[in-house]
């Protein structure tokens, strides 16, 4: 037995109970220890960091190498060549001095955390024949925003103490950027895999094969569809659909027989192909030349091309049609085979519906991460910069007489890359015209409401589809999501099921070199495509070998080939994330090394025997081994969704059989970070876990160790946050036990007072007095001391200490800025600022006092509440203006209407607050902190909550934190109810958690035993103080003179259409009149009784006049809503006479 005792050796495990971990372990080898090791190596947001690191270390070099030359068109001898590129340290230039940046500094002073992109260049100088080649090193071409904790970041590899000295929270996961002081995360984008054949049906039910090709050069979508038994090609570059046989012929497959052979000799296939062949013959297309002629007619004309360029059809087929298959020397054979494979798979699907691909299958999806997105953006910006530089160089060179020596390197430094990257990251709009990419909302401000919300935000996957579509398929839980994506964590409402979250152990791959894999495949006996005839292609026992969607060739012994490849991977000879998947149905071996696949680590088993033995875990415990050694020695490997189909994975070692190939590390890792907080989630009704995943992000607590040094716009903190009594393994791994968001409340499940209906909870006033649920709300206010174009600037001056305004300026210091620690009330002035009256025109130094007008800023808070000015920070912003930030703190104790929730999706508002002496008490004098109505249980079926109560009760009485990890009972990561009950009994409680309770009001025992014990409760950010609103008379909208709308504008409460209907139905006519007119927008108008049009009151004549009749004889006064008068007048302006019919 291997115990987890070594947990205790690490400081972060100091709180873990040795005894529990040393308890007898169920399964042969406890592999849990791998998990903290995995997370230690990879961190919680490894996917983002890996992706960014790959971009910064590899991809950026490739991009620069591919576009490494700027050559003047005017003088082709002049050129500039990029030799190397790298990202420097995060820093910025201030007054020509380089200053190192830390993320915290950037957050506070609203600047971008970026590092210079440094290039080494080689360029020619001089002119004519006296050319010289010069080199320059470390030239900055722009600044790249740096992902926190990536290999370029100042925080990389720092330990806890160093992080603290940099003002950073050691528990912060990183994985986001700091752009202009705001933290931005690039959401993981979910997409359909590129360069793969996908067989599905279109809207009409026609079977189609589609390939979205994406290469460095082009992007295209090719669709081959069977319509009315004939097969056509759909390509944007063609006006209409094109018969596929014509395309085949155009690519040189003139003989129909060859096509049939390539597709496969099965007569059913040839039968399906026959109508298409016939159609082609009907169109008189027999030869390649005829086919090209035919296609040429179908080509869409280019929008601005004046003359018809010839042979476009051929180039379309070469460059756009299935662009991922390369054509060398006009040899279309590879493309023909590819089309044939597409056709064959289509026909399989027609004959057998099971062969259809599932678009929602996770194996057909790719996740696009920040690195990939940034590389696209950078490539575009880099190319644009080079083009611009070239243009500039050419214009300079074009000038007849140049005075100074021409230095190319001077024309290259621009800030287009810096600005482009910064703007895209801060708006989130990826507008890359070069790659026809227009996507919005790719970045989001990191949610800093709670620590778990922040971590959860990094694992969020945003969907490819727009959310409005009413389809259930993509929203449903896919079996292939197992272990990769969290089954619980998804929002409710329109994005339900579309927005997903990664599971705990998921890894997202980055691109891997293809070249070595290709040559390896050929070495392992893959027969090259070029050497095969169409006939040989689909021989019964041979499998096609596909690498990243490309057909490499075929192999006669696919299983042997796959085993060999896997062995090589386990030996570390090829990348650990390369997946080898034998698809027996399609007679294909798919090898994938592309980026964006999701995969997860699993323990390898030989004939059902785990490769990880006790001594391995012991070595891990002793620190001899790391996760990587496990990987290198082939004890653990990463499987992606496709390869999982070739594996038989046992949940536990004990359940493994002969055929088992892999064993799960820990079953609770199928859940994500947010769902990992829930104790006993496997005992709950599943939607409850989903609700909790959404609510955990709104819970108040601690957000980071540096929470009081940050300047967040809005910050909710709990005064006394606690660590849950009933924890899970995930909580410890994530660090929720250090940055908790809730308190352990003693809950009695009973009805009390009637103020607990509809999930309301009754709270104990003494508990609140003692600090339960107390929270701090901090808000940021910003004042800017601006400089204007005429040189004048705002000024902040000493406030008057006497006079009528002095009272509102009490909290100001002599410098005119409010002092920290002062108590601030609504309408108080917190900065005594003055702005110059004239800000434009000629420079005006030394303005007299009269030229300034006051522009003070006043605090607006809840009426009657006092807040405290927590901190004042002064900094210089990007435009060199002084920026003053104020944090205002408001401490609140819970009040009636505040929202609370347990960790089981059971939210409720505080219904009433009751004195402790009225509260029930138990035989041992325990008085609950809150009372929850038992009606919350039957319909919600949150059994997990009941077990949490039992477990925490046993926990407090035995003095040991109990565990409730998901599916943890067999592996000992969750305490069993039986054991908990025994503990309860040992400490004199009833096994079922019910206590004998006395009523606090009558003093007599209650007629039932009450289920009572601690439950971890979260206080949610929704508080009545921020929401309550009512008004009598108040502001009105200018245009309609009706009351304003919304709480922020002190708006009225609208009697809406439906409320009005009720009043009509009831017949309360005078109430309607009063609500809709008197209390809204009453107005008096003059109406002419004769013509029915509006008149007016002439104040000079002191008479009413009708402007149409030109007299005032028949004028009456009438009351109507101002909005109605407005309508009448607008209509009459539109020349619709509107007569009142009086």
């Amino acid at each position: 037995m291997v115990s987890n005792g070594d947990l205790v050796d690490q400081p972060q495990w100091a709180g873990v109970d040795k005894e529990f971990l040393a308890a007898p372990v169920k399964s042969a080898v406890d592999k849990f220890q791998l998990l903290p090791e995995f997370l230690k190596v990879r961190g919680l947001v490894k996917q983002h960091l890996d992706s960014f690191n790959y971009f910064v270390n590899t991809e950026i070099k490739k991009i620069v190498a591919a576009n490494n030359e700027i050559r003047s068109q005017v003088d082709p001898k002049l050129y500039l060549r990029y030799k190397d590129v790298r990202i420097g340290e995060p820093s910025r230039m201030v007054d020509y001095v380089t200053e190192k940046l830390t993320p915290q500094k950037c957050r506070i002073s609203d600047i971008t955390y970026a590092a210079p992109i440094l290039v080494n260049i080689e360029y020619t100088t001089g002119s004519g024949n006296s050319l010289k080649v010069q080199e320059k090193r470390e030239l900055t071409i722009g600044r790249m925003p740096i992902m926190l904790r990536s290999s370029c970041c100042a925080l990389y590899g720092k330990d806890e103490e160093e992080l603290a000295s940099l003002g950073e929270c050691p528990l912060d996961p990183g994985g986001y950027f700091v752009i202009k002081g705001t933290e931005k995360v690039i959401l993981i984008q979910e997409q359909l895999s590129k360069n793969r054949i996908i067989i599905d049906t279109d809207k009409k039910g026609c079977v189609q094969a589609s390939v979205t090709s994406s290469t460095a050069a082009t992007k295209s979508k090719t669709v081959i569809r069977m319509e009315k038994e004939k097969i056509y090609l759909y390509l944007n570059q063609f006006k209409t659909k094109v018969p596929i046989m014509a395309v085949m012929k155009a690519m040189g497959m003139e003989s129909d027989q060859e096509v049939v052979q390539m597709v496969g000799r099965d007569p059913r296939y040839s039968a399906l192909l026959l109508p298409s062949i016939e159609e082609c013959a009907k169109a008189n297309v027999y030869t390649q030349h005829q086919a090209l002629e035919y296609l040429e007619k179908q080509v869409k004309p280019l929008p601005y091309a004046s003359t018809r360029t010839e042979k476009r059809a051929s180039s379309i087929l070469r460059d756009i049609f299935i662009a991922n298959v390369p054509v060398h020397d006009n040899n279309f054979r590879a493309k023909c085979i590819y089309v044939a494979v597409m056709l064959r798979r289509m026909m399989e699907a027609i004959l057998n519906k099971d062969a259809m691909d599932d678009k929602d299958y996770v194996g057909n999806k790719r996740l696009e991460l920040s690195g990939q997105l940034l590389s696209l953006l950078f490539e575009d910006l880099f190319k644009t910069m080079n083009d611009e530089s070239k243009k500039l160089i050419d214009t300079v060179l074009g000038k007849p007489n140049r005075s100074s020596l021409f230095d190319m390197s001077k024309y290259i430094v621009r800030d287009s890359i810096t600005v482009g990257l910064e703007r895209t990251l801060s708006t989130g709009n990826w507008d890359v015209k070069r790659f026809r990419m227009h996507r919005k909302g790719m970045t989001q401000v990191v949610a800093r409401l709670s620590y778990i919300g922040t971590v959860g935000h990094m694992t969020k996957i945003s969907p490819q589809f727009e959310k409005s579509r009413k389809v259930s398929g993509p929203r449903a839980l896919q079996p292939s999501q197992w272990g990769m994506l969290c089954p619980c964590d998804t929002p409710e409402g329109e994005a339900c099921g579309l927005v997903k979250n990664l599971a705990l152990m998921t890894h997202v791959t980055t691109d891997d070199e293809e070249g070595p894999i290709i040559s390896l495949c050929y070495c392992l006996g893959v027969e090259d495509l070029e050497l095969l005839s169409g006939e040989e292609l689909h021989m019964p026992n041979s499998y096609l070998i596909m690498l990243n969607g490309l057909i490499l060739g075929k192999h006669r012994k696919p299983q042997r080939f796959a085993t060999a490849m896997r062995k090589l991977r386990r030996a570390g000879k090829i990348g650990e994330f390369v997946s080898i998947f034998v698809n027996e149905k399609q007679h294909c071996v798919y090898i994938a090394s592309d980026g964006g696949r999701v995969c997860r680590p699993l323990v390898i088993a030989d004939k059902g025997v785990s490769r990880i033995k006790e001594h391995h875990m012991k070595e891990l415990k002793d620190g001899v081994r790391t996760f990587d050694t496990f990987l290198r020695e082939g004890l653990i490997e990463y499987l992606d969704v496709n390869e999982e189909n070739n594996a038989l994975i046992a949940l536990y070692e004990g359940e493994a059989t002969e055929e088992t190939t892999h064993i799960e590390i820990e079953p609770f890792t199928i859940l994500g970070v947010c769902a990992g907080l829930i104790p006993y989630p496997h005992h709950n009704q599943s939607p409850r876990n989903t609700y909790q995943c959404a609510m955990g992000k709104q819970a108040m607590g601690n957000i980071a160790y540096n929470q009081l040094c940050r300047m967040d716009t809005l910050l909710y903190l709990l005064v006394y946050p606690q660590r849950p009594l009933l924890t899970t393994r995930t909580i410890e791994l994530v660090g929720y036990d250090k940055l908790g968001a809730g308190q352990n409340a003693t809950v009695a499940v009973m009805s009390y007072s009637g103020y607990d209906i509809e999930d309301a909870i009754v709270m104990n006033k003494s508990s609140l007095d003692r600090g339960f649920g107390r929270c701090i709300v901090m808000k940021k206010m910003v004042a800017l001391s601006q400089k204007y174009e005429n040189g004048a600037s705002d000024r902040i001056i000493c406030p008057p200490r006497e006079g009528y305004e002095a009272e509102r300026m009490q909290i100001l210091d002599d410098d005119g800025i409010a002092a920290p620690g002062e108590i601030i009330r609504t309408h108080d002035i917190y900065i005594n600022k003055q702005s110059p009256t004239v800000t434009r025109g000629a420079p005006a130094p030394n303005l007299p006092d009269s030229k300034y007008k006051p522009s003070r800023q006043t605090y607006k808070g809840p009426e009657g509440e006092t807040a405290v000015l927590d901190r004042v920070a002064l900094c210089t912003d990007r435009n060199n203006n002084m920026n003053i930030k104020f944090m205002v703190r408001h401490t609140r104790r819970p009040e009636v209407g505040d929202k609370f929730s347990s960790r089981h999706g059971q939210k409720g508002v505080c219904g009433t607050i009751i004195q402790q002496e009225d509260f029930p008490f138990s035989e041992r004098g325990i008085c609950p902190d809150l009372i929850m109505n038992p009606h919350g249980f039957p319909s919600r079926m949150t059994v997990g909550k009941m077990i949490e109560l039992l477990g925490s009760k046993a926990g407090v009485s035995s003095g040991r934190f109990h565990y409730g990890s998901a599916f943890g009972e067999p592996s000992g990561h969750a305490d069993k109810v039986e054991v908990i009950s025994e503990t309860l009994v040992k400490h004199g409680f009833s096994y079922n958690g019910k206590d004998f309770i006395y009523s606090g009001i009558t003093g007599l025992p209650l007629q039932a035993y009450i289920f009572m014990g601690p439950i971890y409760y979260q206080k949610l950010k929704h508080m009545v103080l921020d929401k309550m609103h009512a008004r009598g008379s108040g502001p009105r909208v200018m245009l309609t003179r009706q009351p304003t709308e919304g709480r922020s504008k002190n708006g009225g409460l609208r009697v809406g259409e439906m409320e009005r209907d009720c009043l009509i139905a009831y017949g309360a006519s005078m109430l309607i009149y009063e609500r809709l007119m008197i209390s809204s927008d009453p107005f008096e108008v003059k109406v002419c009784r004769k013509c029915g049009l509006l008149g007016y009151h002439n104040y000079k004549l002191k008479a009413d006049v009708c402007s149409t009749c030109k007299n005032g004889d028949n004028i009456s006064t009438m009351k109507l809503p101002y909005a109605c008068k407005l309508l009448i007048q607008s209509l009459s302006d539109e020349a619709h006479a509107f007569s009142g019919g009086l």
């Binding site: 701090i776 927590d870 002496e917 040992k986 009558t1002 007599l1004």
Partner: protein, 383 residues
């Protein structure tokens, strides 16, 4: 212990109505007696929890249910079980639950104590926010007899009769290590506040002493009560805040008299509660293995085994007072027929955990006085 009085009658199960005597005998039939005096704690739920208050409730049986002062005088007993500095456990016997509960309620919410109510913060550069610091200070129990002070109402000025002033000045030297500020650093200022009142035209009366936030007419330590008994927090080791190098707290805390119903900090007890005396009965003699099992079942060792000769072991109820009502002994098939768990309705085991301002026995007598006052008030209101 005196628990099983009249146990034999009660052991009989409910008799049929036909077995009842035709004429009132002046005593209650056993099952009614049981209902009246015991709470029966069954496996699923307790029954007979109510008290019968109506004087004529048992008139049909010829029993008068009137509350009589003489009876009460005769039967009422108080037995102190445990008394330490802060805790006290005693039995109240022969009392209605409502009276016992009244004491409990008064103890929790109506007995006054002194607690810090106002905190004047001159400087606080620690991480603990001002409000939180003030809240923490408020909850510190003070070792002072509240009876020596008066309540301070809204428009009263703070004087030596209604306010106690403490000073806290802690700072952590730069370059040193973190320090913990504990409640022992709260220093009593017998002369009242030292902070000068900023407002007012100080220029006009230069000669007179400048005003502070309190106006004590004399020093509190000159009063005989405090002369050799300086006022301080009850516990010296309550953590108030932690200071990092360079941080400082300077404040003055004003404690006033108040009641627990306003804020829990004024509650003189950590908690006060009672439980009814447990009564455990063996309905049938339990012998042999069953007896062993019963003894093993109970986690608080209510039962013992006695040897009744010839190697036969019989279970006895040795320590019924220990029973926490975990109901283990009646769990399982048939056990409910063997063991009965009951509570004596007029016997309360009362526990007071004092926070330290007053010793628990004084607290209880004070509570009795308050109840007395209230009764008198009712009587005067009525007459």
């Amino acid at each position: 212990m005196e628990s099983t009085d009249g146990g034999d009658e009660e052991r009989t199960t409910k008799g049929s109505a036909w077995d009842l005597p035709d004429l009132p005998t002046g005593t209650l039939p056993p099952h009614i007696q049981l209902q009246k005096t015991r709470v029966v704690c069954n496996k699923e739920a307790p029954t007979n929890t109510e008290n019968v208050q109506y004087a004529g409730a048992y008139a049909a049986a010829g029993v008068d249910n009137t509350v009589r002062l003489d009876d009460f005088r005769e039967n009422f007993r108080v037995e102190v079980i445990k008394l330490t500095e802060d805790d006290m456990e005693f039995d109240l016997i022969g009392l209605d639950a409502s009276i016992a509960n009244a004491f409990r309620r008064i103890l929790i919410s109506e007995l006054p104590t002194m607690a810090i109510e106002k905190v004047l913060i001159a400087n606080n550069t620690s991480v603990v926010q001002d409000e939180v610091l003030a809240h923490r200070l408020g909850l510190i129990p003070l070792n002072v007899d509240p009876r020596l002070f008066e309540y301070m109402s809204e428009n009263d000025t703070a004087n030596e009769k209604n306010t106690i002033v403490f000073k806290l000045h802690a700072s952590c030297a730069k370059g040193g290590s973190r320090i913990t500020v504990k409640s022992e650093e709260l220093k009593w200022l017998p002369n009242g506040s030292e902070f000068l009142l900023a407002k007012g035209n100080s220029a006009s009366n230069q000669d007179s002493k400048q005003k502070t936030y309190t106006s004590f007419s004399c020093s509190q330590d000159s009063l005989p009560e405090f002369a050799d008994n300086p006022i301080a927090p009850k516990h010296a080791d309550i953590i108030i805040a932690k200071l990092a190098p360079g941080q400082e707290i300077e404040l003055e805390a004003h404690a006033v008299k108040g009641m627990g119903k306003t804020h829990a900090k004024w509650s003189p007890v950590a908690t006060a509660w009672y439980r009814m005396l447990p009564e455990v009965l063996l309905l049938k003699p339990i012998e042999g293995d069953e007896a062993e099992e019963l003894v093993k079942k109970c986690p608080v060792k209510v039962f013992d085994i006695e040897d009744i000769g010839r190697g036969v072991k019989r279970a006895t109820v040795a320590r019924p007072r220990n029973c926490t009502l975990c109901r283990e002994c009646i769990r399982g098939d048939g056990w409910e027929k063997l063991v009965a768990l009951r509570r004596v309705k007029d016997h309360f085991i009362f526990t007071i955990e004092s926070t330290g301002a007053l010793p628990p026995e004084v607290l209880f007598t004070e509570a009795v006085k308050i109840l007395e006052d209230k009764c008198e008030r009712v009587i005067t209101e009525l007459s």
